[in-house]
Amino acid sequence: MKPQDALPSTDTRSRSRSPGARPSNGRVVLEVDGVSKVYPRNSVRALDGIDLEIHDGEFVSIIGPSGCGKSTLLQIAAGLIPATTGEPRLEGTPVVGPRRDIGMMFQQATLSPWRTALQNVLLPIEIRDGAKLARARSDTAMELLHLVGVGEFAKAYPGELSGGMAQRVAVCRMLITEPAVLLLDEPFGALDELTRDRMNEELQRICLERNATAVMVTHSIAEAVFLADRVVVMSARPGRIAEIVDVDLPRPRTFEMTAEPRFAKLTQHVRGELDLGGQL
């Protein structure tokens, strides 16, 4: 089965959501339309004909072998690098450059060590509207910091924060501009497993509360399934979508669920697709 064929069928399925899934009007927020990417520098074909629709309030995980173009896909969707063919569209308009209604997060928190947690959260506003308007949003930033449980550390510098706390601050920095879509590139990949589990639970809670639309790249099958409404499995060289797996587990998901047979079935399914993808 060609990956292109897989798309329409899964898309119709994802619109008829399971009862546990979040309410969605099915509006497409982010659309990746036939995107291919060849890096001119080394002629590497990183992506080949990617079609993907992300709906309002949906959480999509992307998983695939290293080097299959996951980061490339996110950067194209964010308008940071151009697609060779095809185009990403955000709420109907083509993405042709960096967009301020897109929030991003990376494996490293990349906080500025000379700014307090609060000032770090306000950075996107400062860059967009200047320092004065940024200060005027301090209350919103404080609310966000409290939301992710680091409110007491608003005045602390990143050097005084643990890795998990730094990523929480990075979450706030991403949310402060109220972006239409969140693009997360292995956001908790550098954290220890316990912290990572906690962060995933929090991320789910935040996304549910704010009805956020999110795409997350991860290397962990369990994490992909735990968080996602749909898991996009990619294959490498060139990067293609091998399969899209619907995750019809009710929300909010808990860690008890990860011990249930249907969770195991889903992770096994994804693992199977990953192995197939590797052979393609």
């Binding site: 990349t110 996107p124 990143p158």
Partner: protein, 283 residues
């Protein structure tokens, strides 16, 4: 009876014993080494292993330092020389800091700078720059200008190179983040790259503080002008080496004071980064 209680003797540690130097406070080891050095010096002088005229002892040198200090306080010719050299060093350093920073940002920020200018800078940096001293004297004469130029010339290379290198140290993800936030090139430079470069810039400035003294003195050795370098040269000609040592001591104080000042400013500004205690590059 059980065999759990192993005799104490057999349980001696296989780890190397804690070295003695670790068990005494650092200031004590510094002091002890200093005293050891002074004693060796005194011993060499007392045993007359070297002719007295060629190597004055620590006490003579210390006396000379005190005498010179008295002269400086009363405003004698040494005070004048000190003032001249101090000015040369300060102006040379400030010019080197400003010019080095400016050129460093240009080099580090532009592709042309990184690709074309940087190799030249690295090559120039490898030249023995003191060899240019006669050139500056020829161009600018025997006044303070040639010494300031020499101090600037020797001191600004490390500032350029370190500034340019420091600008490249911002994390890749942070750069991507700034681009995703729609930051302009100026904002990225000002809010991301420059702050990241600050520890490097200050390392360059500390090298410059030391090099500025070298430049000024080399200029004075060659171009006269009434500074400390000139006095040292004259005293050496008269084989008054105790005086030479005393003057070098005050010269060292200038360098140390400037170095300490830069370090103090660094700790104020770059509060998030603790530099190694001795990040000085050799001359």
């Amino acid at each position: 009876m059980t065999t759990t209680a192993t005799p104490r003797k057999e349980r001696h540690s296989l780890y190397a014993p804690e070295p003695f130097i670790n068990r005494i406070p650092q200031w004590l080891s510094v002091l002890m080494l200093g005293l050891l050095g002074l004693s060796a010096w005194q011993l060499v002088v007392s045993l007359e292993l070297v002719a007295r005229i060629l190597l004055p002892g620590p006490t003579e040198t210390f006396e000379e330092i005190v005498v010179t200090a008295q002269g400086i306080v009363t405003g004698d010719h040494v005070a004048e020389a000190l003032w001249i050299t101090l000015q040369e060093v300060l102006w040379g350093f400030l010019a080197a800091a400003a010019l080095g920073f400016f050129l460093g940002v240009l080099t580090g920020e532009t592709l042309l700078g990184q690709r074309a200018v940087m190799p030249y800078l690295v090559a120039f940096n490898a030249l023995p720059k003191v060899a240019f001293a006669p050139v500056f004297v020829a161009w600018l004469g025997f006044g303070v200008e040639s010494k300031i130029a020499m101090a600037l010339f020797i001191a600004f290379f490390p500032v350029i190179v370190d500034t340019a290198a420091g600008l490249a140290t911002a994390e890749k993800d942070a750069l991507v983040l700034f681009r995703s936030m729609g930051a302009s090139r100026w904002q990225t430079l000002w809010k991301l790259k420059l702050p990241h470069a600050l520890p490097f810039i200050f390392a360059g400035l500390k090298s410059a503080a030391v090099f500025a003294v070298v430049g000024a003195v080399v200029g004075e050795y060659l171009g006269g002008g009434g500074g400390l370098g000139e006095l040292i040269r004259l005293s050496a000609q008269y084989l008054n080496l105790a005086r030479v040592f005393a003057l070098i001591f005050y010269l060292g104080l200038i360098g140390l004071a400037l170095f300490t000042l830069v370090g103090w400013i660094e700790r104020r500004i770059v509060f998030w980064h603790r530099p190694e205690p001795t990040e000085i590059k050799g001359a």
